[in-house]
Symmetry: C2
Subunit: 349 residues, 2 copies
Amino acid sequence: MDNLIGIKQIAKLANVSIGTVDRVLHNRPGVSKATRDKIETIIKETGYKKNTVASRLNLAGRKKLKIAVLIPEVSSNWSYWNLPKKGIEKAVEELSEMGILVSYYYFTDPFSFIKMGDAILNKKYDAVVTVPFFMVESNNLLSKAKRDNIPIVFLDTEVKLDYPSFFIRQDSNLAGRVAGRLLHGLVGNDGLYFVVNIVTERGLHANNQQRENGFREFFRTNFKDSKISIMTINHPVDRPFEINSEIESWFKDERPKGIFVTNARSYLIPDILKAHSVSNVSVVGFDLHEDNIKCLRNKEIDFLINQKPEFQGYTAIKGMFKFLTEQDSSDLNMDVPVEIIVQENCNLI
Amino acid sequence: MDNLIGIKQIAKLANVSIGTVDRVLHNRPGVSKATRDKIETIIKETGYKKNTVASRLNLAGRKKLKIAVLIPEVSSNWSYWNLPKKGIEKAVEELSEMGILVSYYYFTDPFSFIKMGDAILNKKYDAVVTVPFFMVESNNLLSKAKRDNIPIVFLDTEVKLDYPSFFIRQDSNLAGRVAGRLLHGLVGNDGLYFVVNIVTERGLHANNQQRENGFREFFRTNFKDSKISIMTINHPVDRPFEINSEIESWFKDERPKGIFVTNARSYLIPDILKAHSVSNVSVVGFDLHEDNIKCLRNKEIDFLINQKPEFQGYTAIKGMFKFLTEQDSSDLNMDVPVEIIVQENCNLI
DNA sequence: CTGAAAGCGCTTACAG
DNA sequence: CTGAAAGCGCTTACAG
């Protein structure tokens, strides 16, 4: 920028060399209090702002910013966790000339989460991007990172943290309320609603619980008299899905008019309904899983809510880069939009 | 980047100076065919890619990229056209260190569009961002820009162009189909549907016509027997709105169950309905106009479709910058997502 | 505690 | 037709 102040101008104004200005800017030792004060005053007065482009051009070769990404291991053929990764890779591509290096680590359970977290901290990364599936272990990682002064941004899930940190994720309660709005629009006041939680061996995911809460909140606030039943399917990730007696019992009494599935496995619902000859049911689920999209096209699912996982990954890297280079954390605390998907706008997302 | 090839390495491999490499890279004259060929081969073999950051650091001071933005004049207090501007300003902010200069020009009619277009071309901008409201005049601008080798990206509206160019806008036909899907979900097969075109003195906007077409297409394809009436309101922009006899006649026969307004002025509908004691009508409209949002909150409008105008402006500038600096036009042809808004997710957008 | 020099990768006059 | 030098704004050894 021609009309903006640079370190050269600062140096001239302070009657020092640019090296000394640089020391002050980076809080490096070896400057007398007097010169430091003088330079700091001038920096403030002139509103000097570092040229990040020039700074990174210089550093790109010798001192890349190293970011560790610790996410759940990709399990099945379609995996949700490939999506944030895609966004991360896009961000890395865009920042490649600025000197950035992203390494991936994977966890499957609390134990591997801690193990990988420790490995990351030992390798002295500049920042960490991770997913707080496990509350205790996430707090453990956070406190260690705090000690080493390494910033963390948490994606996907919100948990209670002992220290403030960064979050990029959807407000799951809000997403549940949106689901309520959508499903009520289709079903109206008179029908019975099912909330279906599909639970893996790890138990009910925090997001799912919050979505259920939001859904119920929507009806409590707007349509008090609607009937809602909470149903649970226990379905370990890697075992084939079976309609068990518990599911059979869903349809003993009244039949549902609307079903809200609190996670990505809403594609299981149509077969359950068919098996019990239940028709005319509206379904709202989550995530652009390929099977969900198929159901959307078949009209077996009416709405999907998208968490914009690519966007989450992209924003995490771009935001962290901005934070590391400009101390600007404004992109690191974000409620991702609750994106509503129907058959027609599905391809454009 | 340390492991990537730079001009220095190219120069060494070709036994020339970096100046000569630079001449070849920029297709500047003054290089013998032999050296040019040799260097070009090496560039291809090594997969050399210019470091845009270094390049722009160099040029930011002396040769900023100048982009002209030619958009409709902001008319009322709330103006749609402030939104793309917001996105443009965000992009400019992000690119400030890379040397960019954006100037705004405004038009109100075909005449001022041409006038401003000529003014822009005379000032030798590097690129133009504009809105093709007027087909003939837009093509006129495009052909002149083609002559001067200045790229144009068109926002908001798609028109038939004589030459290929760049477009960033929503697929309005698709948006109409989405509206059909949403409204049918609320109303079902039995009700009467109104499509309401609210027309200014400039006539029906191309987007509105395409949205109407898409809406009808949705029903023609999926629910053939639904009854749809097309209604028109003539309402010059700066005159107060009045319920005239034409509107009165809407309700002579059957009353509508669903209303689709093809532009941002869906907030006019609730008063019309109240005046005729018509209730239980679902309404879908466009754009996050403050009055629309109010209606969404009051439950007088059920869905709004957003065209992401900020995003359009942002993408236009970022995409054009990428095109000018890296000859990569991949972000300059874009179908903006059809974003579905309900009361609950309205604030997050 | 401070300064002068070299360099990040590219671009531009200028000299020959 | 080609090269050598200066510079974009910042950062880093190195010298004193």
